[in-house]
């Protein structure tokens, strides 16, 4: 059974690229364009992994991670944050919020899949 991944990014380009890459590798992909919509997309849904951007309107990635970790359903769900190389401090914020790991964007497909494979058995 394919793993389900929720990709959260306010940039459609990024969402498309992430979901294209993941779908190509057989994952099932849901998308959301900000933290608030991610949370509502997760209502009544289970996912095996969440990949989220940081800079988003309404609810940013860090807040999203905090929210998810506060929800018993998602305490044990791996969460990867997508960040640019300049966001060094962000990685630590993500870590403090409870994210599982990070991926630097832009990414090459192989890299994304490798990292996803790491957290999504």
């Amino acid at each position: 059974m394919g793993k389900r991944i929720l990709a959260v990014d306010d940039s459609k380009t990024m969402r498309d690229m992430v979901s294209f890459t993941l779908k190509g590798a057989g994952y099932e992909v849901m998308v959301a364009d900000d933290g608030v919509n991610a949370l509502s997309a997760l209502k009544g849904e289970e996912v095996d992994l969440i990949i989220t951007d940081i800079n988003m309107p309404n609810m940013n990635g860090i807040e999203l991670v905090q929210n998810l970790r506060g929800d018993p359903r998602f305490r044990a769900t791996p969460i990867l944050i997508l960040t640019t190389e300049s966001d060094d401090g962000i990685k630590q914020q993500g870590r403090a919020a409870g994210a599982t790991g990070w991926i630097v964007k832009p990414f090459v497909p192989e890299k994304l899949l490798k990292v996803v494979g790491k957290v999504c058995a």
Binding site: R4, K12, T13, M14, R15, D16, M17, F20, T21, G24, A25, E28, M30, V31, A32, D33, N37, A41, G44, E45, E46, N55, M56, P57, R69, D71, P72, R73, F74, R75, A76, T77, P78, I79, T84, S86, D88, G89, K91, Q92, G94, R95, G98, A99, T100, G101, W102, I103, V104, K105, P106, F107, V108, P109, E110, K111, L113, K118, V119, A121
Partner: protein, 781 residues
């Protein structure tokens, strides 16, 4: 499988990217305008930052180096701003605008696959540098150095951190066959589980590297009662024989490095320790910090796996229990659908107003549509199919079929089709905001250049119009705003003298009225200098020296072809384009433009445009042997006035009295030179129609032939503009039918006497070009 990286698997997303850029840039421009007008809310800055950030991320994905480089700098500056390390002030806003321009251009270059000059945008970069070299940047540099230097700070004990230092220089003990033997001691901390990292996966990954032997230490496992399900009690020792280097091992632990105690030693054949490396510490390898994990796991033999699984099970179970087992229906479709894009037919002129270089090879040709609208369409198509099936069934019954039911089926069908049509049209409707939002920028730049103080007020930005109309609107609107700034508004000194506030105001408004959109540009400047315009018009041969013109007609001379107030041509509103071009552009959209001037008080430009260029609700009227279409939304009522209320005028035409008001009646047959049409309003039918200016005019026709939606075919495109006729359409029987232009008609004079239809029609068409400039734009009021 996925193609290799160098094939650019993401090339297909370029279109999306550029579309997104266009949107982001438009938003940015708007937000910059807000900044300028003194709105320093942090959300504004954040929004600008996010836009640049998104552009940078996308640009990186497509390797647009220049764009990445520039947006990176720009982003950095914005970051300073939103963190409050720099203060927004005039100079800075200037730099932001300049940077925005460069960014737009670079996006344009990238889109056209062009390479800008090496020095392009350097001025903006210099300006950014200048701001960053202030105090703010130092603080930032320190902060980021700190962050980069030791991200694990706090987690690492001093000794451990020290031991991390020399990993690169350590020679791995290599056994003859190229394998090295590592011993890895791995003790997760509870934080690792909190970050949702799985020891199991780490173990699996290690096993991918080579042969492993694993020992698990369960000595810390407390009694069941004392056990905290989310704590970490196990630790592992892995012996790994691998041909991979240390880097690969580090990578396995990358996400967890800060959440575990990790010791990696290299052993030689005799199990002598060759080198030791203790974690935690940053496990970055030189070439690969593209990702990482915040927790760590180690490798175990299969026996251990179940033990780990057990240790994690409580957490997972707890988690699973909380998940209601709801249906997973269509989860994917929903969020994606919000982005549904509907292709529109490529318009040759589409997108001409977009920022940056004009020609593009990855041109945006899609619209974002609200998912509700798409859903409604799908529903309607469903209804249509059902109705059609029902009808087909009825018809198959042959003679037994009930005419009644077929009739009602047809009614239903036409209802559905109409609904469908309306909804399809609505997809193309977009708020004028996208055009209006570009104007503050223009006002700003131009007023700065002219040394004028100007405030731009926009009203009705959410008014929706067809996308093509929006696209075509940008240029004329820009030009008119420039014109108002340049010619309309005075300098602060002049304004003071005239007893006005130094700051001039330009109001840009949009609203729906009578099925059209009305856009007004009102300035409180000096108004049009009629004497000068009049003189110039004579000088240029636009009008005859002895022509008697009303004030309003003089004002509207500025739209006449060949008229440009040459004296006043500046690099701003000049640009080789006159107001006549503006008028032509608007007219080609089926619109109209007029100007009204109040000397000393200001000028009002008024644009009226159809909401859509495609269809129109029309009343078909019969005149002599012809049919015409009157746009329904301009019809007020249809009357047959009693004889006593009709006054025939000398020279044709008449006036009727309705509820105390006198209304001019134009016999359509006479206007178009048709033989046999009714001339007496008390015998024919008078269609009372409203002009854009709100005036009522009566159209005398012979009969009403019914109401229907008609598809608009441009007369200008297929033939030429004809006075009194807005466009043409094709009726159900295949005949061509003209759509009347109420405004145009209301300004036409009833020709004296009657002439043969042919000669009249021709002369109307011929004379049209000449006097268009003089009459067609005269405001209706």
């Amino acid at each position: 499988m996925l193609p290799a990286a160098h094939d650019d698997p993401f090339a297909q997303f370029k279109v999306t990217f550029f579309e997104e850029c266009a949107e982001l840039l438009a938003d940015m421009e708007q937000h910059l305008g807000e900044l300028e007008s003194g709105n320093y809310e942090s959300e504004t800055l954040h929004a600008i930052f996010r836009a640049v950030h998104s552009i940078k991320a996308g640009a990186g994905a497509f390797s647009f180096a220049r764009l990445v480089e520039f947006s990176h700098k720009f982003e950095f500056l914005l970051d300073e701003l939103r963190e409050g390390k720099l203060v927004v002030e005039d100079d800075l806003v200037e730099t932001l605008f300049r940077s925005f321009d460069v960014l737009s251009d670079l996006v344009g270059f990238a889109q056209n696959a062009e390479e800008p000059e090496g020095s392009y945008g350097q001025d903006a970069l210099d300006q950014i540098e200048q701001f960053l070299s202030g105090e703010g940047v130092d603080a930032k540099a320190d902060a980021s150095a700190e962050a980069a230097g030791d991200p694990a700070a706090g987690a690492a004990s001093p000794e451990e951190a020290e031991a991390t230092q020399d990993e690169a220089g350590v020679p791995a003990a290599t056994v003859k066959d190229g394998t090295s033997h590592f011993r890895i001691e791995f003790t997760p901390r509870e934080a690792m589980y909190r970050h949702a990292n799985e020891p199991l996966l780490i173990i699996r990954e290690l096993r991918d590297l080579g042969r492993t032997e694993t020992t698990i230490d369960t000595s810390r496992l407390p009694s069941l009662q004392a056990m905290e399900p989310e704590d970490a009690y196990f630790s592992w020792v892995f012996d790994l024989w691998t041909t991979h280097g240390r880097d690969d091992i580090d990578e396995v632990f990358e996400f967890v490095i800060d959440d575990c105690d990790l010791t990696i030693v290299t052993l030689d054949d005799s199990n002598t320790v060759v080198s030791v490396d203790v974690s935690p510490g940053r496990s970055d390898t030189e070439d690969d910090d593209d990702f990482g994990f915040f927790v760590d796991v180690s490798e175990v033999g299969s026996g251990v796996v179940s033990a780990i699984a057990q240790s994690i099970a409580p957490v997972k179970k707890a988690a699973e229990k909380m998940v209601p087992d709801t249906a997973r229906a269509s989860t994917e479709a929903q969020p994606t659908a919000t982005e549904a894009a509907v292709k529109k037919p490529a318009s040759p002129k589409a997108g001409a107003g977009a920022a940056g270089p004009a020609t593009t090879n990855v041109k945006a040709a899609s619209i974002r549509v609200d998912v509700d609208r798409v859903d409604r369409l799908v529903n309607m198509v469903g209804e249509l199919v059902i109705t059609q099936a029902m009808l087909a069934q009825e018809v198959e019954l042959g003679e037994e079929m009930s005419a009644d039911r077929v009739g009602s089926g047809m009614d239903e069908l036409s209802m559905h089709i109409r609904e469908l049509q309306e909804n399809v049209m609505s997809i193309r409707m977009q708020p004028v905001k996208s055009v209006f939002s570009r104007m503050p920028r223009i006002v700003r730049d131009v007023s700065k250049k002219l040394d004028k103080k100007v405030r731009l007020v926009t009203i009705g930005e959410d008014t929706e119009v067809d996308k093509t109309v929006i696209e075509e609107l940008a240029d004329p609107l820009t030009h008119m705003i420039r014109n108002s700034l340049d010619h309309g508004l005075e300098t602060p000194a002049e304004r003071r003298e005239a007893g006005k506030a130094e700051e001039g105001t330009i109001r840009l408004s949009a609203e729906h009225r009578g099925g059209r959109i009305i856009i007004e540009i009102i300035d409180d400047g000096r108004g049009i200098n009629r004497e000068k315009v009049h003189e110039l018009a004579i000088e240029k041969g636009v009008i005859q020296p002895d022509a008697q013109l009303s004030d309003n007609e003089i004002d509207n001379l500025i739209f006449a072809p060949g008229f440009s107030t040459a004296e006043e041509v500046t690099d701003l509103s000049g640009r080789g384009v006159g107001m006549d071009v503006v008028r032509r552009n608007i007219q080609s959209l089926g619109g109209r433009v007029s100007v009204e001037s109040f000397p000393g008080k200001g000028t009002r430009f008024k644009l009226t445009l159809p909401l859509t260029l495609a269809v129109l609700d029309g009343m078909i009227v019969g005149v002599a042997d012809q049919k015409y279409v009157v746009p329904i939304n301009s019809i007020i009522e249809t009357v047959r006035p009693p004889k006593k209320d009709v006054e025939m005028l000398v020279g044709g035409g008449s006036v009727i009295r309705i509820r105390g008001d006198y209304i001019k009646v134009l016999p359509i047959s006479m206007v178009f030179g048709l033989e046999g049409g009714e001339q007496d309003p008390s015998k024919g039918l008078v269609v009372l129609a409203e002009t854009e200016g709100g005036r009522t005019v009566g159209l005398l026709v012979d009969a009403l032939a019914g109401q229907q939606q008609v598809v608009i075919k441009s007369l200008e495109t297929n033939f030429k503009a004809v006075e009194g006729i807005a466009s043409a359409t094709i009726l159900g029987d295949g005949s061509v039918c003209f759509i009347l232009d109420i405004d145009g008609l209301s300004k036409m004079k009833v020709p004296e006497g009657r002439r043969g239809s042919q000669s009249k029609t021709r002369s109307a068409a011929e004379s049209n070009d000449n006097d268009q400039g003089k009459t067609a734009g005269v405001a209706a009021e």
